[in-house]
């Protein structure tokens, strides 16, 4: 029923190959012929079938993207970076939410591979051997974003999570705090563990004893963090500062303290992580470790295009710089005291 390349060829009095050439911008076509074909295409309303093209050429110009949760501001921003660059290179993306469930991740990878994506962009809490095995069966490049596999075999784009957490903790230490609460994500996850390690290292380097009771684990969300904060507030020796590894959790920390009658940043300082829009839309505004979310997405997609086009890649492990965005939830003096080592 729909118009095919064959119809166009017949109507224009040329061969399928010629039509294919003009459709694909092949220069080896006489201008007059091109013009004639173009006219017929227009007249018939011919629309190339990308599936047939994909089968014949073994390229689909679509890449698979596996992301934990697109409704999460952090990942949404990342996804935007991915899509923009994909678009720039004429790729479309098949977007899949994994909810960080390994089973679902594996199924998704399988599905995307069946759909013959030209590349895979994977975001997930952990890259296990099962993931690696599956990736190995893929004949297309895979790039990780915001994670890294244990053996560092796969190309990936990240920030230095450990260092970022170290810097954040250091800022608080520089302000004289010795009871710094750590409100982090699951330690089984790559980022969760790295940040915890950065926090501990900073304490150790500063000669401040690590205390178990100053650590609480949540799922990066406001509601959960609010509950975890209750623990800190019942402590005989209450923390005087909080390092939360997401902005939502940091806001929860602020509210928990405020509700208990404390002022932020006068009585307690709070620093978050990510720098999502929320951070600048709350009062006090949130001091936070800024991840270049959009760029992580953009760079990882760019990296993937390089692999897909067989371009030379100098470093497959890229670490983008993070910064500490000083705002209202920490005291002003901090501006001169950002830790860098």
């Amino acid at each position: 029923m729909s118009v095919t390349i064959y119809d166009v060829a017949r109507e224009a009095g040329v061969s399928m190959a010629t039509v294919s050439r003009v459709v694909n911008g092949n220069p080896n076509v006489k201008p007059a012929t091109r013009k004639k074909v173009l006219e017929v295409i227009e007249r018939l309303g011919y629309r190339p079938n990308a599936v047939a093209r994909g089968l014949a050429s073994k390229k689909t110009t679509t890449v698979g993207v596996i992301i934990p949760d697109i409704a999460n501001a952090f990942y949404a921003e990342l996804a935007r970076g991915i899509e923009d660059i994909a678009n720039m290179y004429k790729y479309n993306i098949i977007l899949c939410n994994s909810d960080k469930q390994p089973k679902k991740e594996l199924t998704l990878i399988e599905t995307l591979l069946e759909k013959q994506v030209d590349g895979l962009l994977f975001m997930g809490p952990r890259v296990t051997d099962e993931h690696l095995d599956l990736f190995r069966t893929a004949s297309v490049p895979v790039v990780l974003a915001t994670t890294i596999d244990p053996g560092c075999q796969l190309p990936s784009v990240n920030i230095d999570q450990r260092q970022a957490a170290y810097d954040a903790t250091r800022l608080l230490l520089n302000h004289g705090h010795t009871r710094i609460a750590f409100l982090g994500g699951p330690l089984e996850e790559f980022a969760g563990l790295s940040r915890f390690q950065g926090y501990r290292q900073a304490l150790e380097d500063a000669g401040v004893p690590f205390r178990e009771e100053l650590v609480q684990i949540a799922d990066y969300r406001y509601e959960t963090a609010l509950k975890r904060m209750a623990h800190f507030l019942t402590l005989p020796e209450r923390p005087t500062a909080v390092f939360a590894t997401s902005d939502e959790m940091a806001v929860a920390a602020i509210h928990a303290y405020q509700d208990a009658g404390f002022r932020v940043p006068e009585d307690v300082e709070v620093i978050g992580f990510d720098n999502i829009r929320l951070a600048s839309m709350v009062r006090p505004t949130l001091t936070t470790v800024a991840q270049p979310m959009y760029d992580i997405g953009a760079v990882s997609m760019r990296l993937l295009t390089k692999y897909m086009h067989n371009e030379k890649v100098t470093d497959s492990l890229v670490f983008l710089p993070h910064t500490i965005e000083i705002r209202g939830s920490t005291r002003a003096e901090s501006k001169t005291a950002v830790a860098t080592r």
Copy 2:
């Protein structure tokens, strides 16, 4: 190089058709044969090629989704609803950002159609004749979400924008306000205009004169809204309440007033729109018109599956209910005074 259905057939000593049957769960296969084929599939690591399948069957089990901006919390939540339901029905989604640019929207539709998506889910500020013409050339169903075409020909999922704005304005009117500022989105856009109309209607019904100077248009974002708020604050007769048609803008309104020395909700009341997570993470928490964002996405995708599967559709224009979430940016008495007509 990669294993094909033919390899499996040869290895299992059956025909391609039989392999195809077991892969697709066709019951007309002797259990013993099925078992043998399954074994070979496993052993060879056969992975069905969905592109070839798509060409042969004319079904790709992927749908195209055109969304203004996935980095926007409202659309991100919607997208999640879409993806979840798509997934439930075994579809994948190709996600495209349009930034509300008509040109880009049209190109995207064209591209998705070329990719032979089984259906299209479109979100955009306006559905023009050009859109309609393009949709008409599509041999697959199209569903609109958060918009509606002028002729109401295309199926769509929405809330009653006009009524929602009416209700919000009414709440403020019920609190005795006569100078209610309207901080809205572009009037050229479907939602922008509908909400403005609802606002005006509510004023009119209450016998409160409409005043041009109480209207400001922004792009739904915090930063822009903050600038627009300056206008209201310089007015000789300052508005005593603000109806902002996005939560980010409502938060900006609150901050603008707070920075000018006013208290919310004591001195001025503010109501937002959407009910994104931000609304409950700011202090005061935000009273807002709650759109069932996830459900709009989910229902529109479900509707699309019905069309794709040729199921009977009773109503192609669905309006999901909205509510007003009473929180801290309006005065408590309001709880008994929600407008409903």
